[in-house]
């Protein structure tokens, strides 16, 4: 059934034709529009006005109701009336104690969930004393070498009470093992642990570019993690399918959603191929999208993504549980939109993007600090970022009505158009042999690099406006003095001292035996690597040792050179 009767649509079309002939023609005659054509950031053409006639072809079932298939209007039946989105600011720097202190400050400021950024050596499976870690320890995130570091990171924080997101990728299964080991040591009920691992390997090869192993073993590690976590820690989301980074590296809104759905399909095929029922793990798949600058496009992106996902899970994977078809999303505002010039403007940019995420129906959010174009954010910048979300949540009454823009002629048309384009891209991925193969071939990488260059050209030509940078430039406000988050120079040595102490104090023979077992299990595709990894971290094997063990079995990844 369609939303409007044929008679009503016919009437509107007649009246619109008359309006175009009279009022519109007169206005255009006296003053032409500023641009010959209008479009969204991802290139979908925009009309000057939308009417019921523009959505006459959309069946009412495509909208549905919140918390019901196809979830266009929201993930839950009560949305923010039942539970507001989680304010989840990511933080991580220096030694575990430094990040722990920041967490306590943010909880006190009103943050409702934790999120951890790790330093590059930890992400890439290197210990702090590895020569390749030179200059990087504790720099862009917290340094983790052993299970004791994870204990220090969450010191004094009740992990049964607060959900924790871990932005960890190629080494995710090791950090998960450490998290579980700490929870067990503290006597927590593992079934009560709530949180999310990022652990999305395919997007790493094409976007965030953190890798250790070749593509297929990395996907197998994710399979092991999903299957183990589903039973051992059923409230943990073992993966956050991260479109955010696809956008960050240059992808437009359509590429963000289509490519991440292609990766979702690949992962679901991997896990179901290993014998797990889709409904036993799909409810714990979670997503991470950007909220970028094109306000309505972004809102429609969230709505279209929910609908596409619901259809993939129901039609392609024959899921039966509604939870398997419900897309839950964490959102971060767009770091790419932030400028060093007049950096206070970043507060306004972030607030608008955050509002878009709320109108799009996000489940949790990180708002960027206004100083993130300089360095990782200061405490003061994080407080303003949290306040931004609190003002949207508590002062402006946008949370009382679910999907308040639903039914807007424009919003429904654009949601539908974006969905159509996403399906076209997904069909192309299928025709070309699927996501894993295309990642190996560099297909996604090329598409994203092309899109990044096109965006740069638009900015360079002044077609894409950046206030204060290429429009309304104020020469006097160019050199900003900002207080920058300081780096603790003692951080590296402390991590190295601790590593040495751990290595000296543990049962070395037991560690070697467990690492050998792990290598043996990695040689076949059959075993799940998590149980042995958990034993290894409990025996104080380091993150670098565990990752190196599998590198010896699987080798490293050779990047296809795409510019």
């Amino acid at each position: 059934m369609n939303l409007f009767s044929e008679t009503a649509i016919g009437d509107i079309r007649e009246k619109q034709a008359a309006w175009e002939e009279r009022e519109l023609a007169a206005a255009l005659g006296s003053r032409p529009e500023e641009k010959p054509a209008y479009e969204t950031e991802c290139g979908i053409p925009l009309k000057r006005v939308y009417t019921a006639a523009d959505i006459a072809d959309i069946p009412a079932d495509e909208l549905g109701f919140p918390g019901a298939y196809p979830f266009t209007r929201g993930a839950y039946p009560t949305m923010y009336r039942g539970r507001p989105w989680t304010i989840r600011q990511v933080a991580g720097f220096g030694n575990p104690e430094a990040t722990n202190q920041r967490y306590k400050y943010m909880i006190q400021t009103g943050q409702t969930g934790l999120s951890t950024d790790f330093d590059l050596p930890t992400l890439l499976g290197l210990d702090s004393d590895d020569p390749r870690a030179f200059g990087e320890v504790g720099r862009v995130g917290v340094a983790i070498d052993t299970v004791d570091d994870v204990d220090r990171l969450f010191d004094g924080i009740d992990l049964e009470k607060i959900s924790v997101s871990l932005t960890i990728n190629p080494s995710a299964w090791v950090v998960y093992a450490m998290y579980v080991a700490v929870a067990a040591r503290r006597g927590y009920d593992l079934h009560k642990l709530a949180g999310t691992l990022q652990a999305d390997p395919l997007k790493e090869y094409v976007a965030q570019k953190e890798w250790i192993y070749p593509v297929r073993p990395a996907v197998r590690l994710l399979r092991d993690l999903i299957m183990y976590s589903a039973k051992a820690t059923p409230k943990i989301n073992p993966i956050s399918l991260s479109g955010y980074h696809l956008s960050d590296v240059g992808g437009n809104a359509l590429q963000e959603i289509a490519f991440i759905m292609a990766f979702t399909i690949a992962y679901c095929e991997e896990v179901t191929g290993a014998g797990m029922d889709i409904d036993d793990f799909a409810p714990r798949l979670s997503f991470f999208f950007i909220s970028h600058q094109d306000f309505f496009e972004q809102i429609c992106k969230f709505r279209a993504a929910r609908r596409v996902y619901a259809k993939i899970m129901a039609q392609r994977f024959k899921a039966r549980k509604p939870e398997s078809m419900r897309l839950r999303v964490h959102v971060q505002t767009a770091a790419m939109s932030l400028t060093k010039v007049e950096h206070h403007n970043n507060l306004m940019r972030t607030a608008i993007q955050a509002l878009g995420a709320v109108l799009g129906g996000c489940q949790s959010m990180h708002t960027n600090g206004l100083d993130e174009a300089f360095a990782i954010p200061t405490e003061e910048a994080m407080k303003l970022a949290i306040r931004t979300q609190q003002i949207i949540r508590d002062e402006i009454n946008v949370t009382s009505v679910i999907d308040p823009l639903g039914g807007s002629y424009f919003i429904e048309r654009l949601t539908r158009d974006m969905e159509t384009e996403i399906w076209k891209l997904l069909d192309e991925v299928d025709e070309r042999g699927g996501a894993v193969k295309l990642v190996e071939e560099g297909w996604f990488q090329q598409k994203l690099a092309d899109s990044a260059y096109a965006t740069f050209r638009k900015i360079d030509a002044g077609e894409k406006i950046s206030v204060g940078v290429n429009r309304y430039v104020d020469e006097t406000s160019r050199s900003a003095e900002v207080h920058i988050h300081p780096y603790d120079e003692r951080c590296t040595q402390l991590q190295i001292d601790r590593l040495n102490a751990v290595r000296a104090g543990r049962d070395g023979a037991r560690v070697r035996q467990l690492l050998n077992e792990l290598a043996e299990q990695a040689r076949s595709d059959e075993a799940n690597l998590l149980p042995t990894t958990i034993e290894a971290v409990k025996a104080k094997a380091t993150l670098g040792e565990i990752c190196a063990t599998l590198r010896e079995v699987w080798g490293s990844y050779a990047e296809p050179m795409i510019v």
């Binding site: 990087e136 174009a373 290429n470």
Partner: protein
């Protein structure tokens, strides 16, 4: 080195370039920083401006970057860094260049580099720092001006 030339140039071609004046640039990523969007965009900008560009790919150590720069006989190494580790990494890059007697090669820095760290980078032998919001023209003229001021070696 695991790099791909955007334009292939053999040793002979490099000699011809020295005479014809085509500027050769190594676009490099140092350390563990995976942000390669900027580096790739800059590589295309320089190529479009008529320069010969070699891209190193990710995760290169300072000595690997210097070895590639010497082998490819480049005029300029352009390093994009967004990991906050620019001070120690450029210091090490400068040391490696001097050690290899290759400090005639210009070093241009870009990425997320706060003004307060500029002095440390100049001390390390960095010749120019390109701001984040730089337009294509600025990136190209920065490199051309460096070479015009001294000539190619």
């Amino acid at each position: 080195m695991n790099e791909a030339s955007i334009k292939q140039a053999s040793g002979d071609a490099a000699e011809r370039n020295a005479m014809t004046g085509t500027i050769r640039v190594l676009v490099a990523k140092l350390g563990l920083d995976g942000h390669d969007r900027g580096a790739k965009v800059v590589a295309r900008i320089l190529r479009d401006a008529g320069m010969e560009v070699v891209y190193t790919g990710l995760y290169k150590s300072p000595d690997e970057v210097v070895a590639a720069a010497v082998q490819e006989d480049v005029d300029v190494i352009g390093v994009s860094l967004l990991s906050g580790s620019h001070v120690p990494l450029f210091r090490e890059l400068g040391r490696c260049l001097r050690e290899e007697k290759a400090d005639h090669i210009f070093v241009v820095a870009g990425g997320v580099i706060p003004e307060q760290d500029y002095a440390a980078l100049w001390d390390s032998g960095v010749d120019a720092i390109v701001p984040q919001e730089a337009r294509a023209e600025l990136i190209v003229t920065t490199i051309r001006n460096l070479i015009a001021a001294r000539g190619r070696v």
